[in-house]
């Protein structure tokens, strides 16, 4: 029987946030790329919260942008409200979050995919991967069509063997009632891939016309909006914003939930998957934090052209009738009509320790993966992995070194390192506390950290790269200038200090010292710094931060130096650790399982002790010596 057979460089399976980034990266790097989705309408769909960014996730979006990804640009074009979180805290935890018009977000991304050269969009369910001798050869769709390719990126999100549940209702679909992908798991398992089953959930959507907003507190966006993308002109994002609304649950809500707990599939044991702890359902919160008599509920618009409102904070898998009863106890929702029920969703994903930090499978060359398929959660986490998986699929085909970001240079590096190195038992979410060098990994300097890497990979234009090089130089020169300036205790200085409620000077001091005062900053001191050059906003911001937090930043830079030493000691691939004498048995087993790429990564595997690391260092040294000897003897012949 004749079947369709086509040839591509790269096949991307799934067109969610990970798949879109992966496909765009490959196509933009000139590779013939095909992206599969079960539904063209669901490209870059946001099936849960209607926003992009937030604490630490905003950092990820900035990093994606600096590397040449699409998410930041896409949200800048389609957001309806924007807020910089934690503005009163240190710069490392400032985080941008924007409410998205979901439909517009999806449509805008679809438009981008459809108009990218070398990219083919195809609606089909991929049901098999074709692997020969540990090498990926292609993918096969449910209809039997075969797409041969040199690399594939799996970004199946929450669709693999998905089922949606509330009460005793079970729908064998993906999110939003979309068709699930019920065949690929079998093929993956046949190819020796270890699967996990995870679970997550989403709250109900309400009809805006049935909500009484007068009982809620209005939540506005920022007055001055900051874009996500370094390429977006700030002038272009100063739009009229839409509000969100804050209300609360109460003891009555909690009573209804408690009385109906046994009707939840979570408590009855019908749900097998492991859910995330940071995104608990309202029933989880009521049980676990029984002492709290109210929880916040954020009512957020799903878009401009829809009346649907997202009920943030109240995800649930309780039965339909209980959902009605519980939501209607919340002030302002007394007469609310549900447009879509809340539900829990279960899906297959992989144990991510099967991946290298390049996101390529250790056992199947040419097979990459990203997003929720790798056991993460969140749009931003997905997009970040999709981008890296896509870039590395391209690097592999081009015969170049993979792009691996480490923990000291990006949140993306922390995210991927955590996924592939640590035991992961729940959907993984990014948090600023996971980044040990977070003072250096700020959202404001993502361009300085990563644009060069994006340029080297081929996703950033020369012009954009040169702007960053210039910016770096400007920052450095200005910091040096500021540090050399002394300020005398004269009248104009004293009156300026006084006007900001800052202690007057007893004697002269450095300008930098004044900038370090908590109530002052670089810009405020312009009047007493007459030789100050005219500099763009983003340069002044960096100068201010670097001077203000200089002591802390210096300490972290020192720590990073130590960290890099072990990170740069690479371990050979497919090393049999049973042959490394002196390692403890537990360490041998773990190291064989994880096959770390560096001594640094090895040191973060649980069950590998500092003594084991010393043994590995000694072993590595021996190995290098032997190699050197071997090379020398070849040279002599």
């Amino acid at each position: 029987m004749p079947v369709v057979e086509e040839y591509y460089d790269v096949a991307v399976v799934g067109a969610g946030h990970a798949g879109c980034e992966a496909a765009l990266a490959c196509a933009r790097l000139g590779l013939e790329t095909i992206i599969f989705t079960v539904s063209i309408e669901s490209i870059a769909m946001m099936p849960c919260n209607p926003n992009i960014g937030g604490s630490s996730k905003g950092h990820l979006v900035r990093e994606i942008d600096a590397l040449g990804g699409q998410m930041g640009i896409n949200i800048d074009k389609t957001f309806i409200q924007s807020k910089m979180l934690n503005k009163s805290k240190g710069p490392a935890v400032h985080s941008l979050r924007a409410q998205a018009d979901k439909a517009a977000y999806s449509m805008e991304m679809r438009k981008t995919l459809e108009n990218t050269d070398h990219l083919t969009v195809r609606q089909a369910e991929v049901s098999e991967i074709i692997v020969e001798d540990h090498q990926l050869r292609g993918v096969k769709t449910f209809s039997g069509a075969v797409y041969y390719c040199k690399a594939a990126v799996l970004c199946t999100g929450t669709y693999l063997n998905a089922r949606c549940l509330y009460g005793d209702v079970v729908n064998h679909t993906g999110p939003n009632g979309l068709q699930a992908a019920n065949h690929l798991t079998d093929s993956l398992v046949k190819n020796g891939i270890e699967m996990f089953r995870f679970k997550t959930g989403t709250p109900a959507r309400m009809d805006k016309r049935t909500i009484d907003f007068s009982k809620m507190t209005e939540q506005f966006g920022d007055e001055k909006i900051v874009p996500f993308s370094f390429t977006t002109d700030p002038e272009d994002v100063q739009i009229d914003q839409v509000s969100c609304w804050l209300t609360y649950t109460n003891p009555e809500t909690h009573r209804i939930i408690r009385e109906n707990l046994e009707r939840s599939p979570l408590f009855s044991g019908m749900i097998e998957g492991t859910g995330p702890r940071y995104c608990p359902s309202i029933e989880d919160k009521v049980v676990k934090f029984a002492e709290k008599d109210r929880h916040q509920v954020f009512i957020e618009p799903e878009g401009i052209n829809t009346n649907e409102m997202y009920v943030g904070g109240m995800s649930s898998s309780l039965p339909e009738d209980v959902q009605y009863a519980m939501y209607r106890t919340v002030p302002g929702l007394e007469h609310a009509k549900i447009v879509r029920n809340a539900y829990a969703i279960e899906y297959d994903c992989i144990n991510p320790r099967q991946l290298y930090p390049s996101l390529e499978f250790k056992e199947i060359h040419g097979l990459f993966s990203g997003g929720q398929f790798n056991g993460s959660s969140g749009y931003e986490e997905a997009a970040a992995q999709g981008l890296i998986a896509g870039i590395n699929a391209a690097m592999k085909i081009k015969g170049r070194e993979p792009l691996i970001l480490d923990r000291s240079e990006s949140y993306i590096g922390v995210l991927i390192d955590d996924l592939v190195t640590k035991d992961n038992h729940e959907p993984y979410r990014m948090m600023t506390s996971r980044a040990e060098y977070r003072l250096l990994l700020r959202q404001d300097n993502a361009d300085l950290r990563l644009t060069k890497k994006g340029y080297e990979a081929g996703l950033i234009s020369r012009e954009r790269y040169e702007r960053v090089v210039w910016k770096e130089k400007m920052i450095e020169e200005e910091i040096r200038r500021v540090e050399s300036i002394n300020i005398g205790a004269n009248a104009s200085v004293q009156s300026l200090l006084e006007s900001f409620g800052s202690q007057p000077l007893n004697t002269g001091t450095g300008l930098a010292e004044l900038i370090r005062r908590p109530e002052l900053n670089y810009d405020m001191l312009a009047p007493i710094d007459p030789d100050r050059p005219e500099l763009p906003d983003d340069v002044r911001e960096q100068v201010n931060i670097n001077i203000k937090y200089e002591g802390y930043i210096r300490r972290q830079i020192k720590q990073v130096k130590q960290f890099k030493k072990l990170e740069n000691k690479k371990l050979p691939k497919n090393l049999d650790y049973d042959q490394v004498s002196g390692l403890r048995m537990e360490a041998q087993q773990k190291l064989n399982l994880y096959q770390p790429v560096s001594i640094g990564q090895a040191s973060r595997i649980s069950g590998v002790s500092p003594a084991d690391i010393s043994v590995l260092l000694v072993y590595l040294e021996q190995l290098h010596y032997k190699e050197k000897k071997a090379n020398e003897s070849v040279g002599q012949e």
Binding site: K89, K288, S433, P518, Q562, L617, V618, E621
Partner: protein, 458 residues
Amino acid sequence: MKTDTIAAIATAMSNSGIGIVRISGDEALQVADRIFVPKKGTKKVSEMDSHTIHYGYVRDGEETVDEVMLLIMKAPNSYTREDTVEIDCHGGVLVMKRLLETVLKYGARPAEPGEFTKRAFLNGRIDLSQAESVIDIINAKNDFALKSSVSQLKGAVLNKIKELRAVVIHQIAFIESALDDPEHISIDGYAEELKQITENLKNEVTGLLKSADNGRILKEGINTVIVGKPNAGKSSLMNILVGQERAIVTDIAGTTRDILEEQIQLGGISLNIIDTAGIRDTEDIVEKIGVTKSKEYLEKADLVIYVADSSTKLDENDLQIIASIQDKKAIVLLNKSDLEAVTTRDILSSKLDKTIIEFSAKENTGIQELENTIKDMFLQGEVSFNDEVYITNIRQKNALEETKKSLEMVLKSIDDGMPEDFYSIDLMNAYEELGSIIGESVGEDLVNEIFSKFCMGK
């Protein structure tokens, strides 16, 4: 702040003539600069030539620690191929300990077990054929360090540190959960509260540090086991010894004393006294355990004090004891010397070739002689105790110092009006340092604490 410059005592921890403290790493010369004052001239250590020896003093601020000889070996011409400074000081456990502590205070960190050898190897100093033995050294030393470090901690100290850690991680989790989910959790006004908590933590750590100075953190000292048949006067002896304890009486607040073990100082020497009377009490219940325990204690003992009752005949119990301590360092106390002697010095010395001291718990005689005997045995090296205990103590003290520094940084950040996210950086360091004392790493602790204690959004 951790550096990559390491230090350790290179000689055995005994009361020998000369002790050596070795420093190696990028900042070895700078560390030495900070503490060494040459007898002649004002040349800085970093300006001195390689492979030269200098005479002078090690100072900790105003205080002179010891009169020393300083050897400078600049990279790559040293054992580790790094800049290395060796400080030859007077032998003696306390001097070496004090010197090492000073070196650590001024910027080095305690070397990991086997680390000098490891560095020598990694820097190409040791032949590759010796790789196996390098691994053996690392493993042996680590095994020992693992076994010793936590087991030497007193139970009360262990609990205290766990308690402090729980407080620290809770504060971090609170800050972090608020940073992660600012719309659900607010930390406005938290600085004042945290300041109070951090002050308390600092006081607790300072208390622990004092205890460490007084040797109260570890079960260090000469393991001394008191044996004797029931009623021979073991408990009376114990009471006299403990009652005489002068130098260190401050116990750590809020902790209970070990029932079986007491630490005392006798003539300036630490004794870790184990009263087997306590063991005997349990014997009735589970006889076997009691006997095994007694034997275990005897085996571990550095010194045995056998209390014999001179007013009664030697019985089956006495003979058993005499048999079991033949090969041990032991002192015999002939108690009840105030009463008429049934068992005499002669009878005992015919069965046991040990020092015999006549003693009366009642009249409090013989204690001075006991003290002198123990002191002589120690100074002549007849009894000693495990070196590693001191090393462990220095390591743990260093970790406490680092904890204290980190807490001070938190206080400074609060006073400087820094935003909350800066507090958790130093709190985390404190948490890590405390963990290193009890052999626990950070792992997923923070994330677990955040999710279990704070209700996070969405």
